[in-house]
């Protein structure tokens, strides 16, 4: 990419989401708005080499896009007149020309766009792709690279998603108060899906995958700017930033996973931690924070604040897990609660809860439960049982480095040939 192309690509990334949002409000339909935005950039690519890139590219693009939009709306109006002459009643089309010149609240435009790309009529994959494309300003090539699919597949997914919105009659709108919480939950879900795709990636180009985390955090911050009074949105931002602060420290030079206990905490990203803790305290000041994202962020904050594993406030963490297990119960939350209880009140307390989880179907085929029980049993001096649990965990994981680590733990336990009953 030469300097000019790179600059135009950067302008696209900065300007396209707002341009598309504004156009979508104007013409109602996302696919049409995207087409106009694309055409506008093509025009710019043709003109700017001769005229130079304008000082205010956003303003230039908007006035150019406006012509495309007005033209389209006029043609639609004529079409409507034609229908009316024929006595047919077409769908009502909002063509409020004032909107074109009026400086409306850009935030509302962008928020409306996000609600559209995260619309519940779309499946999770479609929502993710469309959000990254239209709100994130990523190119289809960038998205397909991050999701390890071909560009053609991703392009098709995006086209289908837009078509699905058109077919379902989804127009630009800001959901009313009743609907808003549910729609916002869908938006947060999409952003956290994107984040986790990058965070738990075990295959492919790690660097590209980590970029998904960065993109999700950016989208989260955008959302928290648009909906500043929502503690869960702030909680989501804090959660992502606090988790991502450990990204650099959780992978070794050969790509192996480094568990929290062994991470070099000086490699944690202090800037993200500070940003995340700020978001969390803002969430706290709004309602005390009892939603699932805020609670998970509080748990992540216990790690982020601690200079070592021993210095971690495990009692606070266990208490937060207690609340989380009431607000958003899940087998994985229970398992993590067992770990926290084990650290706060001794291995026996953790094992008591972990033992209750043995019958939970969702955990049966997962390596996490035997790995946790192995650690707790090991700390209690029940080495033979711990050994068996680590072996079981190793057999259940399909991640090779993880299997290696678990088998190593099993061997550690086998070294203790005089099992005795101890206390954690």
């Amino acid at each position: 990419m030469d300097g000019f192309e790179a600059t135009v690509a950067a302008i696209w990334r900065v300007e396209a989401p707002r341009l598309v949002a504004r156009l979508t409000r104007l013409v109602g339909d996302l696919a049409v708005a995207e087409d106009i935005a694309q055409d506008t950039f093509v025009t710019a690519l043709g003109r700017w080499p001769a005229t130079g890139i304008p000082d205010n590219p956003g303003g230039w693009l908007w006035s150019a896009a406006r012509f495309g939009a007005i033209d389209l709306l006029r043609r639609r109006d004529r079409q409507r007149d034609k229908y009316q002459t024929l006595g047919v009643s077409p769908d009502k089309v909002d063509t409020d020309m004032d909107l074109i010149v009026e400086e409306r609240d850009m935030g509302d435009d962008l928020l409306g766009l996000i609600f559209m790309t995260c619309h519940p009529v779309l499946g999770p994959e479609a929502r993710v792709a469309l959000t990254l494309r239209s709100v994130g300003g990523l190119t289809t090539a960038e998205i397909s690279k991050a999701y390890l699919t071909s560009e053609a597949t991703m392009a098709q997914r995006i086209v289908r998603a837009k078509r699905a919105l058109t077919t379902a009659g989804v127009r630009f709108e800001l959901p009313d108060r009743r609907e808003r919480a549910a729609r916002l939950a869908s938006v947060m879900e999409v952003i956290y899906l994107i984040f986790n795709e990058g965070y738990v990636a075990t295959a492919g180009d790690q660097w590209v995958r980590a970029d998904l985390c960065t993109e999700a955090m950016r989208l989260g911050r955008v959302l928290s700017g648009l909906v500043p009074d929502n503690p869960e949105v702030l909680g989501l931002v804090a959660l992502m930033e606090l988790q991502a602060s450990r990204l650099r420290a959780r992978t070794g030079p050969d790509g192996q996973a480094i568990p929290l206990a062994d991470q070099d905490r000086t490699r944690w990203d202090r800037l993200l931690i500070r940003h995340g803790l700020n978001a969390l305290s803002r969430a706290d000041s709004l309602d005390g924070g009892r939603g699932p994202y805020v609670l998970q962020a509080k748990i992540a904050a216990c790690h982020a604040r601690a200079s070592s594993l021993d210095a971690t406030d495990w009692v606070l963490m266990a208490a937060t897990y207690d609340t989380l297990s009431l607000v958003a119960p899940s087998p994985v939350v229970e398992l993590n609660r067992a770990v926290a209880l084990g650290m706060a009140y001794g291995a026996a307390a953790g094992l008591a809860l972990a033992d209750q989880l043995v019958a939970v179907p969702a955990l049966c085929t997962n390596h996490l439960l035997p790995a946790v029980r192995g650690e707790l049993l090991h700390r209690l001096g029940r080495h033979q049982e711990a050994h068996d649990e680590f072996q079981r965990a190793a057999a259940l994981t399909d991640n090779e480095p993880e299997r290696h680590t678990l088998l190593g733990r099993a061997r550690d336990c086998a070294g203790h040939d005089t099992p005795h009953a101890g206390v954690g």
């Binding site: 790179a6 690509a9 302008i11 590219p57 950016r218 700017g225 648009l226 500070r274």
Partner: protein, 117 residues
């Protein structure tokens, strides 16, 4: 990737003259826009050099000199750290900064990652 965008002082800033009310408002709305774009991680501005000091090292000996310092155009007035996808994107934001704040010189520098990152 992260870029540090630093702008330089001018004589008015160095003299401690406050910017005009319009400028302050424009800067405020620009910072809001930056953080709402999700790219602003942190940023600060600094006071005139008369309120600061400079350390110079010569042969292992440290000399501390109190401000003010001459050549205002060589003094950093503030910085922002942006999380962006490319240098060009950082430059786009820096351009807006130049237009809004009326500063005359801005450096855009890649924030170095630790080896192994």
């Amino acid at each position: 990737m992260r870029y540090m965008v630093m702008h330089y002082e001018d004589d008015a800033m160095e003299a401690g003259e406050p910017p005009s009310a319009e400028t302050i408002e424009a800067i405020g709305s620009f910072i809001t826009e930056l953080s709402n774009s999700g790219v602003l991680l942190t940023g600060e501005g600094v006071g005139p050099s008369s309120q600061g000091a400079r350390l110079t090292v010569d042969g292992g000996h440290i000399t501390v000199t109190d401000g003010p310092f001459a050549e205002a155009k060589e003094l950093i007035a503030g910085f922002a750290i942006l999380e962006v996808a490319s240098k060009e994107e950082a430059i786009e934001y820096a351009k807006r900064w130049v237009n809004i704040a009326g500063v005359t010189k801005v450096d855009v520098r890649l924030v170095a990652e630790m080896p192994g990152d």
